[in-house]
Symmetry: C2
Subunit: 277 residues, 2 copies
């Protein structure tokens, strides 16, 4: 399904567009700064730690074989600690072609959640790299230290050649290797839930103020924050009993929770000034 | 890793075995009735509704490609409602070889959770079968009724040829097609969590009684139920401050919650009689 079809078919409340089709009526700037697909994909891979490793089956003549794995990220490549006795390891030892499907978990319609497929070659890491790879892996999976050095376990790395990102309905693309290599995970990803909870619990008035002054939701009766990232944040505003998404950008990108807080406070002051002017 | 190695390496508290190696000291009959791997695998596929579909990439020359899908079960085969525009559908249309990795979700060490890989051919269902497949799919995914009949969507079925089941550490095997075809999901799977919660909240005394009279945990100070299935149930008993697993079998297999309740009551009566005799 194309993005256009998605918008057309999944939007209940839409206004006629120039080409006669329908698009959702956005109450914020369509060109607001937001993470690229490469960045969203990279953030998702940093956030999760389990995935499906797809290899070519040695046993079942050319069938793709999916197996459950734990992974960590090491310089934009997923790394694994694999038992030589496991099916996927036997498969990789005879054919290094692989992919890794990492899917976000959450409630609601599962097809609205994001997922990414990293495609590439998956090979055992060299002796020279083993120590640094091991450190990255154990940082994410401390309990694996028990068997990390067993003889029948080895570290593997997926060298990513192409990336398919799906951010939910109608938000998908292939990300090329160079964009993937330079993409950095969102610096807020680890704290974003806490920030969102804090804003909703303690600063509901600020959220409503952002909507009334910095978006077209000037008549909003209520707003809750739904997401925050290095470029800005998202809210769901209630306007005439309807839920409307709003995204606002920070004046400058933030690199940690403190900077995010400073930006949010600056924006409240700006909003108050706009109201009083 | 073999089952033997697993037991040897993951068990802290073990007693010397006849062959000089160590095995966990079991406080219940090692041959107690329990679901087969085929049955456990079949139950898992019934319980979950999202998975990773592995196909052979058309775009990335022979690479296995993992994608997130929703699925339902139809006569022991997973079925899918796929968009013709999606990568996996393009892949299947050029090569029907596929597998589906279904992984249990839960807390704790993710490698202790169960997962199953179903390997086979994935093809669009015939016109004759479409209606019954559609019914099964929509029963599990009601919201898909919106697009189930769109022209660019089609139902696919994975005809399972072999099954790899991993029930956690050291509990794994290949299940052949005939065992898979005849395996039925556990009739309690949908209610098992409720039964377990109810037993722990309201019948802790009965659980302790089962342990003291029907297992070797005669000195247990506490017991909680952890699992129940058609053949019996499992508990974690506290013996000398150590947690010990116990599994007890029903006298006859149960087919629903009511029968499970009757068996549990019957066993309490039997346990009381054993104590008073």
């Amino acid at each position: 399904m194309t993005e256009h079809q998605e918008k057309k078919k999944f939007t209940k409340h839409a206004s006629p567009d120039a080409d006669g089709s329908t698009r959702p009526e956005l109450l914020y700037d369509r060109n607001v700064a937001r993470p690229s697909h490469a960045e969203d994909a990279r953030t998702l891979t940093e956030k999760m730690d389990v995935a499906t490793l797809c290899t070519i089956s040695e046993k079942s003549e050319g069938h793709p074989y999916g197996s459950f794995v734990t992974y960590a990220m090491h310089e934009n490549s997923p790394i694994f600690l694999l038992s030589q006795l496991a099916e996927h390891t036997k498969n990789l030892n005879s054919n290094s072609k692989a992919s890794l499907l990492i899917a976000e978990t959450g409630s609601g319609n599962p097809l609205a959640l994001s997922r990414v497929t990293l495609v590439g070659e998956c090979l055992e890491v060299s002796k020279e790299e083993r120590d640094s790879v091991k450190n990255s892996f154990l940082e994410a999976h401390e309990s694996a230290s028990v068997y990390a050095d067993w003889e029948d376990f080895a570290f593997f790395r997926l060298d990513v050649q192409s990336v398919r990102y799906i951010g939910g309905f109608g938000r998908m693309s292939w990300v090329n290797q160079s964009k993937w290599s330079s993409a950095e995970p969102d610096p807020l990803f680890d704290n974003s839930n806490d920030i969102v909870t804090h804003m909703n619990e303690d600063h509901a008035d600020a959220l409503l103020l952002y909507c009334k002054t910095m978006s077209k939701a000037t008549d909003a009766s209520d707003a809750i924050m739904t997401h925050i990232d290095r470029y800005g944040f998202e809210m769901m505003a209630t306007v005439d009993s309807e839920k409307k998404p709003i995204r606002l950008a920070f004046e400058s990108d933030v690199t940690d929770s403190d900077e995010a807080r400073i930006e949010l406070v600056r924006m409240v002051k700006k909003a108050r000034k706009m109201l009083s002017d």
